[in-house]
């Protein structure tokens, strides 16, 4: 882990207005460094996902300031934010969200084809490398819909990695997986953060998963309750 700050939340606040107005995030401030593997835990409904979507730049309806890679993204235009997500953030959700008509390989390639930093051949090569790393080299050309749940989740991780993002964000990335697949995903995250120095922020309610990460941020009722460094 280096001392370079990759993500900084300053007094993030947010309201929901349905069914009645309430403050779902209340003055949340913290910093995440390069290569850190952070777990976000807390009781169901405490605002973990809501916070993650603010950090992801997809939810722009909040107060306070969010800085990613030393750049304030608060108040940026949608198109600019899309560019930042494409280049700097990878996403893994509880559900895989693969495009079912495309092969696994093509699914992994899509964010890189969008970014356009490499030629098509290079992108294909990089995608295969990542699938190999996740033990899926032999599944590359199968349609995404033909894989098992654990395999699909690993393809989704390969896709999140294709552009070498600074930050990988996960909302319960192991929520639908059995313990074996959970271990695989955890090991990959650990390897990415410690060897590739990519930052990981994962919402989880799996205590075991959280305990094995570098740092746990615990939330309660929209506030940070406390932190544990492992």
């Amino acid at each position: 882990m280096s001392n370079e700050i990759i993500l900084e939340a300053k007094k993030i606040g947010k309201y929901f207005y349905e069914p009645e107005k309430f403050r779902v995030l209340d003055d949340i401030s913290f910093e995440v460094k390069r290569g850190e593997f952070v777990s976000l835990v807390g009781k169901s409904g405490c605002g973990k996902s809501t916070l993650l979507y603010v950090l992801s730049t997809m939810d722009t309806d909040y107060e306070g300031d969010l800085r990613i890679h030393n750049q304030s993204v608060t108040g940026m235009k949608q198109n600019q934010l899309a560019g930042i997500r494409n280049e700097k953030i990878g996403f893994v959700f509880q559900f895989h969200y693969l495009l079912p008509e495309f092969s696994c390989l093509k699914n992994v390639m899509i964010p890189a084809l969008k970014l356009g930093n490499f030629s098509k051949e290079e992108i294909e090569h990089r995608a295969l490398e990542r699938l190999k790393m996740l033990g899926l080299a032999d599944q590359a050309l199968k349609p995404a819909s033909k894989l098992s749940g654990g395999q699909q989740q690993r393809v989704a991780i390969a896709r999140a990695l294709i552009n070498d993002p600074l930050i990988i964000m996960g909302d319960e990335p192991t929520g639908n997986l059995d313990s074996k697949n959970t271990d695989i995903v955890f090991d990959i995250f650990k390897q990415l953060s410690h060897e590739m120095h990519q930052t990981i922020i994962a919402v989880t309610h799996d205590n075991d998963f959280a305990k094995r990460s570098d740092r746990i941020i615990e939330m309660q009722d929209g506030k940070i309750l406390g932190e544990v460094k492992n």
Binding site: F91, G116, F118, R159, D171
Partner: protein, 416 residues
């Protein structure tokens, strides 16, 4: 930072969506095909009808007719001197004056020099009676230079007996409408006598019979040499009642008629003004066909709209993750608009072929009369217009749902 490569992934995704759901694509494209084919077919029919009925009408009249109109006396003549307030009040009546055009040769020269004028001829038109034995028929005759008149009215194609050009070599020859000949029971080579409004009777030799599209006209009309017509009216060889003018674009005749009125000092009447009912009928026909063809296209547009809306609601997850991964609103719009356009392009292409086939079959369908085969043919402009309108309808039918897709909030889908 400028991109190093543009891989056009939106277009790639669009293609995959279009061809992985072949059934939907075919159904939507079929709607466009039928819409386009019917649109082009109806519009080709309309163009064919218009061309045919215009051809038929110009066998009887010129684009613009210049003649001496009856003057009506002014009912109220204001006093010239304003202090003496004495105004004359007169019954309106036709001022008796001859129908002649003074110095027609000069006017014809003048008209021929006008821009866009293709042909000018003169004629003497008058009402007459045809006699043969006991039978007598009221009708009208037109004294013409037959070669010029043929160029203008295409008399040759209406001839059913005798030779049109025999009129030239027969000073007292006459070409009769078939209806007149039937009533008088005469055939080519027979003599008939005619009498004019000034009670001159003259024996004429029937040199030919013609049949126009209008049997009412065939029952009254005849052609003779202009000199013969001048004789029976007891007029000199410069006497002319009408100047007929053809111009390049007959649809613009109204604009020219005003100019020609001012130029000649006589009434110049455009064919549209003289045939208001005919013009109104063709307007009605084109309104009916145009609205049917547009309705069909709109229905095809709705087909695309529905199928695209359906695709989009099935692809909400894809849209959400694409936006999360950095696709902009416009990229998403592009995916679905391109899908619509591809469906449209397939539909339009097949529709053009289908329309070609329909036009071809109908153009070989015999309908009889002096129309013969159905008056329809390949109209390049109509086909081009059909293709363009089809693509425009498709574009908007795709754009509306695609814009909705572009505005999807990914968070609302991904957090489920």
């Amino acid at each position: 930072m400028p991109k190093k490569f543009n891989h056009n992934i939106s277009s790639d995704i669009s293609m995959t969506y279009t061809f992985s759901k072949m059934k939907l694509t075919v159904v939507a494209a079929l709607g466009v095909t039928i819409g386009i084919a019917i649109y082009i077919f109806l519009n080709s029919m309309m163009a064919g009808f218009a061309r045919m009925s215009d051809t038929l009408i110009f066998r009887n009249i010129a684009h613009i007719r210049v003649y001496k109109d009856d003057d009506i006396s002014r009912p109220l003549i204001a006093s010239e001197n304003s202090d003496k307030k004495v105004n004359a009040l007169v019954n309106p009546k036709i001022v008796p004056e001859s129908q002649t055009i003074v110095n027609p040769a000069l006017l014809m020269d003048l008209l021929r020099k006008e821009k866009d004028v293709t042909m000018v001829t003169s004629q003497v038109a008058t009402g007459i009676f045809y006699h043969k034995g006991e039978s007598q028929i009221a009708g009208n005759t037109i004294g013409v230079n037959i070669e010029e008149a043929d160029k203008m009215f295409d008399i040759q194609t209406t001839m059913v007996a005798g030779k049109m050009l025999d009129l030239k070599s027969t000073p007292n020859g006459i070409l009769l409408g078939v209806g007149v000949a039937d009533k008088l029971s005469v055939k080519v080579g027979d003599n008939i006598s005619i009498s004019s409004p000034v009670n001159v009777t003259k024996v004429m030799k029937v040199v030919g019979l013609f049949r126009t599209a209008n049997s009412q006209i065939d029952k009254v009309k005849s052609f003779m040499n202009i000199s013969a017509a001048q004789q029976i009216l007891l007029q000199n060889p410069s006497y002319v009642t009408d100047l007929d003018v053809n111009i390049v674009d007959y649809k613009n005749a109204v604009n020219y008629s005003n100019r020609f009125s001012a130029l000649t000092g006589y009434k110049a009447e455009a064919w549209q003004t003289a045939n208001e009912t005919f013009v109104a009928a063709s307007k009605m026909r084109s309104i009916i066909l145009t609205s049917i063809s547009f309705t069909v296209l709109i229905v095809a547009g709705f087909g695309i709209y529905n199928i695209l809306s359906m695709t989009i609601s099935q692809k909400m997850n894809d849209i959400a993750i694409l936006k999360a991964m950095g696709f902009k609103g416009n990229d998403v719009t592009r995916i679905f608009v391109q899908q619509a356009l591809m469906i449209g392009a397939i539909g339009v292409t097949v529709g053009l072929l289908l329309a070609l086939l329909m036009v071809n079959v109908l153009s070989h369908t015999y309908v009889g009369g002096d129309i013969g085969y159905f008056p329809i043919r390949f109209e390049p402009f109509v086909f081009f217009q059909g293709a363009m309108v089809g693509l425009i309808v498709t574009f908007f039918a795709g754009l509306i749902p695609a814009r909705k897709a572009a505005n999807v909030d990914p968070v609302s889908i991904l957090r489920k």
